[in-house]
């Protein structure tokens, strides 16, 4: 069954450093998303991406965050200057259309900011 692949599975970074989280969505999917989940809290929407541009973003997704689809397969989330409160699981997801047939999530990247 097709999968969304995320790397790395765990990243530890120092506060103020830049991190890039990588995702390979399912190949025939057109819509891509990033979500995050702080430990013990609910899964929160960050951003959706379609046709090489951001479709929608949440209040969490401020100027420190950016997304990119640098080639035909990868989808990345960059955090420019990490804060302690950015520590969370980050999930990438993709869908064929706008989620009405369900989203496929990756296994996540656990980001720890120290």
């Amino acid at each position: 069954e097709p999968e969304v692949t995320q790397t790395p599975s765990h990243q530890v970074t120092q506060m103020g450093q830049e991190v890039i989280l990588r995702c390979v969505p399912i190949s025939n999917h057109l819509y891509f998303y990033w979500y995050r989940q702080i430990l013990g809290q609910k899964v929160e929407f960050l951003v959706s991406f379609y046709n090489n541009e951001i479709s929608e973003k949440s209040e969490i997704f401020d100027d420190q965050f950016s997304v990119e689809r640098p080639d035909g397969s990868n989808f990345t989330l960059k955090i420019r200057s990490t804060k302690l409160e950015d520590s969370a699981m980050y999930f990438c997801a993709s869908s064929e259309v706008t989620g009405v047939y369900g989203y496929t999530f990756g296994s996540g990247t656990r980001l720890t900011v120290v």
């Binding site: 819509y31 899964v43 929407f45 379609y50 989620g99 296994s107």
Partner: protein, 115 residues
């Protein structure tokens, strides 16, 4: 503001029984409602989607209902098994052209099935 409520208390159930989970939403008129399963440290896994014009949807041992008048969805796991132990998330979704697929999740209900 939009609100999604799921039972925060864990649901402990004996193997073979039916688990029933509730999802209530307010300030929302979703055209679709999705249910996901999440295991610890893993991403959500899509289970079922129900449309606003559907009263009930089934998939194997799972059944979902959607009452737009009550603003509620019920999720049933029949003949539950220990492998069904997980957290179950509901996610109402507005019409596809409205929201570009922004999915908002409830906090989830943990189900624990004991042998």
């Amino acid at each position: 503001s939009q609100k999604i409520e799921q039972n925060s208390e864990a649901l402990n159930i004996q193997e073979g029984k039916t688990a029933t989970l509730t999802c209530n939403y307010t300030n929302y008129s979703p055209a679709y409602l999705q249910w996901y399963r999440q295991d610890p440290g893993r991403g959500p896994v899509f289970l079922l989607l129900i449309r606003e014009n559907e009263k009930e949807k089934r998939k194997e041992r799972l059944k979902v209902t959607f009452d737009t008048t009550l603003k509620q969805s019920l999720f049933h796991i029949t003949a539950s098994q220990p492998a069904d132990s997980a957290t179950y998330l509901c996610a109402p979704l507005r019409g596809a052209t409205d929201s570009w697929g922004k999915l908002q999740f409830g906090a989830g209900t943990q189900v624990v099935v004991t042998p």
